[in-house]
């Protein structure tokens, strides 16, 4: 009897202990992060430069969202340059210029491999507090921070490559249907190519390596010029170019300025190259708490849409805005193959190969072929 009472007593104590201990709340972690950010007192955040007109709006919204009263400087610059400068600074023991940066998958992976990004503690819990879709269970945290970026970088959106064209100069049936068509002499001088080879390297995932290099070389010779997406868009609208490979987002940003702009888009039949754009906190960030809050908040539809109307950032993976749905539907309807470095293990292995000496040589060859630096 005594033993029975003793056991019941212990069970009772344990039960009371379990009930009375307050559960570890997600809200508490966010509160601590906010308090830390307030203590840090400042933040230097990077946004994409095309969104520069929205910087002040984003800053005010961020401060309001977390009830912060700190000095926020939202700045912009060329993504590649900022990552390279940050890499140089971190290699030499210096500090990165920005506390939180956004960039494509390749730049983020490069930084993760070199240990130049901060891994965010309890990022799943923080995301659940900050991201409505994660909180509601519609989206898993692993979809916002997928492999191989888990805990380091967080998905802002995607860049899907399409062919933009001047609707007054050319009809859809006159357009190249697949990437190799750009090598056809009938398209000579009518389009521009970008100076970056990153998406063109993805052609290896669709075509044999050597054949693809030859195709890119012919495309480079055929092109009217080499220019950034923004510059080629201006030239298309001017009627100087007929079409150019570009990001889907430019359709939205152009139509937002002028719904009657003579701009159309075509999704390539053979492949739609897709990059991810992610936010991350670099190592030795001066204000890591504020940076974490900003980066995670920008991954929400609310944060992302503040980039518009200057810049429209689609997120076809988890975004729920009207633009995301339309882009998703358009890609699906075209029956194109969506190609990314993270579609499967084979693609990830190919990306890894690009950082080897042979891979770098191939990457340089693609770049020289595209820009005709031969």
């Amino acid at each position: 009897m005594n033993r029975l009472l003793k056991t019941a007593g212990w069970i009772f104590v344990i039960l009371v202990g379990l009930i009375s201990t307050p559960p570890h709340t997600h809200g508490q972690q966010l509160k601590e992060m906010i308090a830390q950010a307030q203590k840090e007192g400042a933040l230097r955040a990077q946004i994409i430069s095309t969104a520069s007109p929205e910087a002040n709006k984003i800053k005010q919204a961020f401060l309001k969202r977390f009830g912060l009263n700190i000095n926020v400087d939202i700045s912009f610059g060329n993504e590649s340059t900022e990552y390279q400068k940050a890499e140089t600074a971190l290699k030499t023991g210096g500090l990165p210029a920005f506390d939180v940066m956004n960039g494509e998958d390749g730049n983020n992976l490069n930084f993760i491999n070199q240990g130049f990004l901060l891994k965010i503690d309890n990022w799943q819990a923080l995301l659940a507090e900050i991201h409505p879709l994660v909180r509601s269970g519609k989206v898993k945290p692993a979809e916002i921070s997928p492999e191989p970026f888990t805990g380091f970088s967080f998905l802002l959106g995607n860049r899907n490559k399409v062919l933009l064209y001047n609707t007054k100069l050319v009809s859809p049936d006159q357009l190249p249907q697949a990437y190799p068509d750009l090598a056809d002499p009938k398209h000579q001088g009518k389009f521009a190519v970008p100076p970056w080879s990153s998406t063109w390297e993805m052609g290896r995932l669709v075509y044999p390596q050597d054949k693809w290099l030859q195709t890119v070389d012919t495309i480079g010779k055929n092109a009217a010029g080499v220019m950034t997406f923004a510059a080629s868009l201006e030239r298309i609208l001017l009627g100087d170019l007929w079409y150019a490979q570009s990001n889907f987002e430019y359709v939205w940003s152009t139509k937002a300025k002028d719904p009657n702009a003579p701009l159309g888009y075509k999704i390539f039949k053979d492949a739609t190259f897709m990059n991810r754009v992610l936010y991350a906190v670099p190592l030795r960030s001066r204000h890591p708490a504020a940076a974490t809050l900003f980066g995670l908040w920008m991954t929400t539809d609310e944060g992302r849409m503040l980039l518009s109307p200057a810049h429209w950032q689609e997120n076809v993976e988890v975004g729920q805005t009207e633009m995301d749905m339309q882009v998703r539907e358009a890609i699906k309807a075209s029956k194109t193959k969506v190609v990314s470095w993270f579609q499967d293990e084979k693609a990830r292995a190919e990306l890894k190969w690009l950082s080897t000496p042979d891979g770098k040589k191939y990457s340089e060859a693609i770049g020289r072929a595209l820009t005709q630096r031969k």
């Binding site: 430069s49 201006e234 009627g239 300025k257």
Partner: protein, 595 residues
Amino acid sequence: MRQAETLGGTTWLSGCLDRFTGRLDRYWLPVAVSWPILVFILALLVFIFYMTFVPGLPTEPGLTLQYWINVTHPYVLKTVIPNTLIVGTGSVLISMFFALPLSWILNRTSLPFRRTLVSCLGVVVIIPGFVKAMAWLMLINKRSGLVNQALSGLLGLQSVSLSVENTLGMAWVLGLSLTPAMFFLISGPMRSVGAEMEEAAAVVGANWFQRLMRIDVPLLAPAVLGAAIYNFMIAIAIFEVPAVLGGAGGRYGVLSTELFYAIHPWAQQATIQYGAAGVYGALIIIPSLLGLYFYYRVLGQTHRYRVITGKGYRSKEADLGGYKYLALGFVVLYLLLAMVIPMLVLVWASLLPYLQMPSQEALSKLSLDNYFNFLSAIGGLVPLRRTAVLMVSVSVLVLFFSFMTSWVVVRTNIRGRRTMDAIAMLSHAVPGIAFAFALYLLALVLAPWLPLFGESLAIIVIAHCVHLLAPGTRITNAALLQVSPELEEAANVCGARGMSAMWKIVLPLIKPSLLYGGLWTALLSFREVSMALFLNGPNNTVFSVAVWNLWQQGNLRLAAAGSVVLVSTMGLLTLVLLHWTGDAVADQDRRYREI
């Protein structure tokens, strides 16, 4: 005897000391100021060359010749270097075609509205190069150029294959852009050519053309040669015009674009190729050194070009008579090509939601929205304040260091003065962007002690000062060359000590040149984008970089709006300042006529 010898020895020693301290008394400040900055420039140059042998960052071990070996790549030898020479030479020829007649017309004739027209030349400088390039791209290109469409309509052709998207187009736009530089560099000497020689030639029967070719041209040769070398160096080092007209591709690659892209590679996971950038910089330095050699050959004959002496001198204006309309037409033509047309295109682009050709449809879309959105797009007034601080700091510092350096070079016989001048000129021979990346790496090395240096405005001020020392010293050299030492000797005989002659006699005489120089360096600093872009950080973005960023990211309408506002403001300031300096020059002229 012994006493005399002792006295003689003492006299000799004290004579040496007197000469040394007397020289020191007169020259201590210029020497103390000029040598450190020149040593700093030399150190940066050495660092740049060192980086050409380093495989990665300067803190990483190892040396390599790979970057130099890469120069033998066919692309560099057969495309980049020839393109660069075409662009450099072409732009010099075009700027000389305009600048020499302009300088004579606006400085030596009785053409009406001279001061206003000179002020307009200053405004040409303010318009950023890439904006002018975009304007010309709209005007002349094979598919949609306004001029092409007009010509094809007139001639009944399907299309007209004129284009500025090549090396000749780059030379054209650069030549137009650099004409004011040449004009300002030779204006001082042009104004100072004495009337007596021309009158004497007229007395013996020489006509105006003979006077021009036999008196004016030889007297102005050093200034013109110096300006031509200066323009060539700038033309082959400018990045933004070839970047716009040649694009990011390799077909029309020149050394400046290849240098820039070595530091700003487009590919992800790419590393900055400092060594390659250094090599491209070195390839730009080599023709500069050749130019310097010829420049010094001419400089050796400077005594022949001295016109302002202790005897009275005055300049005289030529009466153009009926030719004044031709002269005015020439000036207006240049201003149309270099300023009016680009500004009209800027204004047009700034009023539209996106760039498009003039049409009924386009007219219906005109609005002022871009003017309201521009400030917020660049982060408010902060970049404008920074730019103002940058311009004033650079202008004052460059003039100060230039004057001190030129004083040592021109006024003393201190050993090593020619080396000093060569070092000062070298700072211009090296592309600014090469200095920028050397300073950037230096800032990284100093980060543990000066963590904010790399992100501050100070690093851009230093970069501009280093880079603009060369044009500054050309202006102050030329100004001091034309003032004879007789004036200082006269002052010393009358008891002037130390540097009194410098401050009280020479400086007032060359004040117009200094004012021109100050304005010129301020404008150059304002419009410079390559160095400021490379050194850009969240805390030191200046206006030129802000506009460049807007343009590069497709916000041409915002960039155009900002450019219109700033060019208008700066143009107004320039007009006021040039009118003011023009009054000062007119007063000075009057004073000397009365002597």
